[in-house]
């Protein structure tokens, strides 16, 4: 008896001193850090964001002022590391500045849609009944439109502009987030602690806010993080069509479109804005995948 129990007894205190108990978020962070691709992608995003914000410190050029004599210089031209655009403006400068608008138009719709979609989905999933059905069926109606077409139609009816394109993409993302939130809520409401909260006299609003939201956060967060890359691609696509940022403000999608005329003369300069859109969207998707694993979410 003694021979069997002693080794394990002797080992356990030692283990506890070596590995301090971690908080939940600490645990998640450690799991995320084991995903090399996710960490690398997060680094890429950080570089894009920091260089966008610090653009005035990094480049001596004005993103809006060009020289007619320096139009469409190739990559590596003297004084212009990534060449110049069709109006003689420094490409690197514009690409860095453009990150500001592109990152905002990529993240804002997801943020707005997450807040509204979660509110709609959690309410519908908790209440069920006729109100829940009405909420979810009206979401289904928006589902009947292909996402990009819906965004273009809404942006076009609202008129061009950054705010309108953010609004248009938000509307596209609300229904899927509401669905994820509703499904997660339906699972959560069956659990004992919700029953306990209800028995202890908490109001519906209080239960949703204090019990349900905290427990449906993970699947919604992972799902929403997966939409950021898509949001950046759609937002730039809207600008590409002239429905987003107004010139001369630098924005990747708009730059890609205005350089289309240069694909025969300076193809490698012309594709640069697209490369930035692609790199940002890819980095977002890789981070989202790593988050899904780190948070152990299977059904978002």
């Amino acid at each position: 008896m003694v021979a069997i129990t002693t080794p394990t007894r002797a080992k356990r205190p030692a283990d506890e001193t070596l590995v301090a108990p971690r908080s939940y978020l600490g645990e998640v962070r450690v799991r995320f850090m084991t995903k090399r691709a996710g960490v690398g992608a997060l680094g890429v995003l950080a570089v894009i964001a920091v260089t966008a914000v610090a653009a005035p410190l990094l480049t001596p050029h004005d993103p809006l002022a060009g020289r007619a004599t320096e139009r469409l210089l190739p990559i590596g031209a003297a004084g212009h590391l990534l060449g110049t655009d069709e109006q003689g403006r420094d490409m690197l400068t514009r690409l860095l500045y453009a990150g500001r608008l592109s990152l905002v138009t990529g993240t804002m719709p997801v943020l707005i849609a997450t807040i509204l979609g979660t509110a709609i989905g959690a309410t519908a999933g908790y209440l069920r009944g006729p109100l829940g059905a009405v909420l979810m069926r009206s979401m289904d109606m928006l589902y009947a439109f292909p996402a990009v077409m819906l965004a273009i139609a809404v942006a076009a009816s609202l008129g061009p502009g950054v705010n309108n394109s953010i609004l248009a993409i938000s509307i596209v993302f609300i229904p899927p987030i509401a669905r994820v939130a509703e499904a997660a809520t339906r699972r959560v409401v069956l659990l004992e602690y919700i029953e306990a909260a209800r028995l202890s006299g908490a109001s519906t609003a209080r239960i949703i806010v204090s019990q349900v939201l905290a427990n449906i956060f993970n699947p919604i967060f992972v799902y929403a993080s997966g939409l950021v890359g898509l949001s950046i691609v759609i937002a730039s696509g809207l600008s590409f069509l002239g429905l987003g940022a107004a010139p001369p403000t630098p924005e990747w999608g708009y730059m890609l479109n205005s350089l289309r005329g240069a694909i025969y003369t300076q193809p490698w300069v012309a594709v640069l804005p697209g490369l930035f859109i692609f790199a940002t969207s890819m980095a977002c998707n890789v981070v989202s995948d790593a988050l899904r694993d780190a948070l152990d979410v299977k059904d978002a």
Partner: protein, 314 residues
């Protein structure tokens, strides 16, 4: 089975009604003059009022909706003053062109996606699996409009193999048709490749973990025979995703069609938006949404055909 069929078909009606309401409202708030192009330059306010009345534009919104829906159901979408053609004619031609492109990209996207997903699942955790996941992630992340521009630069501007845009007039035979088709089809297929490959891999791996696979293995089936059984059981979610992709593609990609000057639905709708040609926008978006709903219906019915378990669930 029959009950389930009827129930699923009945669900389509409220969805389609809802879609028509959304489309109608969306266009009623569209800024711009619906009479632009119909009135003479020197038209007086009385002329305008008379035209509005004759077109029913002075009716209350619900009345206009019912009229519009009634006309749409009989295939009458009105007249486009901008194009000087019946909207139904315009949509018919554009839909056929988009169908050609959608079938080609769906074949490329779903075909390659299923193949890559299967390769990844069979070689789970090995180099091929990781390679496929990089390809799939690229497909999901890459903007199709950028792929389009890259393809034009490589195959049109530099190699001169393929035309940079436009659709074959039919005079050049099959080869000419394919030459015009291949770049837009590939550019819009990238997303489908990525989405389908990921779903195929995930669904196969999940099915491989089920008990019946052990039984098959115990019976002494070869890897290929087991894959066949697993694939049949894993098909359902892949079919759903593939159906969604077909729906998206049939909606016509505004961006791809604009870049390649492909005279399809996407381009028609986008040009109508720029021209404020609101009857074309309204009818075009309605056609896209109805197609999308019907494709999803077909997918659901196909699920019932291939998966007996779903039939019992009713």
């Amino acid at each position: 089975m029959l009950v389930m069929l009827v129930r699923r078909l009945a669900m389509v009606v409220p969805t389609l009604l809802g879609v028509s309401i959304v489309v109608f409202l969306l266009m009623s708030v569209l800024p711009g003059d619906p009479l632009a192009g119909l009135l003479a330059q020197d038209a007086s306010a009385a002329d305008r009022a008379a035209l509005e009345q004759s077109m029913g534009l002075d009716d209350p919104l619900p009345v206009r909706y019912v009229h519009w829906l009634g006309d749409a159901l009989t295939g009458d979408f009105g007249y486009s003053p901008y194009r000087r053609r019946d909207v139904a004619d315009l949509l018919g031609t554009a839909f056929r062109n988009t169908l050609q492109l959608a079938v080609a990209s769906a074949a490329v996207g779903i075909g390659l996606g299923v193949a890559l997903g299967t390769i990844a699942a069979v070689h789970r955790g090995r180099l091929l699996d990781r390679l496929v996941s990089v390809v799939a992630m690229t497909g999901i992340s890459v903007p199709s409009y950028w792929v389009a521009i890259l393809l034009i630069i490589v195959f049109s501007a530099n190699l001169h193999w393929l035309p940079a845009g436009g659709m074959s007039s039919g005079g050049g035979g099959l080869l000419d048709t394919l030459k015009h088709l291949v770049m837009p089809a590939f550019a819009s297929a990238f997303v489908s490749i990525g989405v389908t490959a990921r779903m195929m891999r995930a669904s196969l791996l999940e099915t491989y973990g089920q008990d019946f696979v052990d039984t098959l293995r115990a019976k002494g089936l070869t890897g290929r025979q087991i894959l066949w059984h697993v694939a049949k059981n894993a098909a359902s979610p892949v079919l759903t995703v593939a159906g969604l992709q077909v729906g998206f593609l049939l909606g016509g990609s505004v961006l791809i069609e604009t870049i390649f000057s492909w005279p399809g639905l996407g381009q028609l709708i986008f040009q109508a938006i720029s021209a404020r040609d609101f009857r074309v926008i309204q009818a075009g978006i309605l056609v896209v949404a109805v197609t999308f709903v019907l494709v999803n219906l077909v997918v659901d019915l196909l699920q019932l055909v291939i998966d007996p378990r779903l039939r019992k669930a009713a």
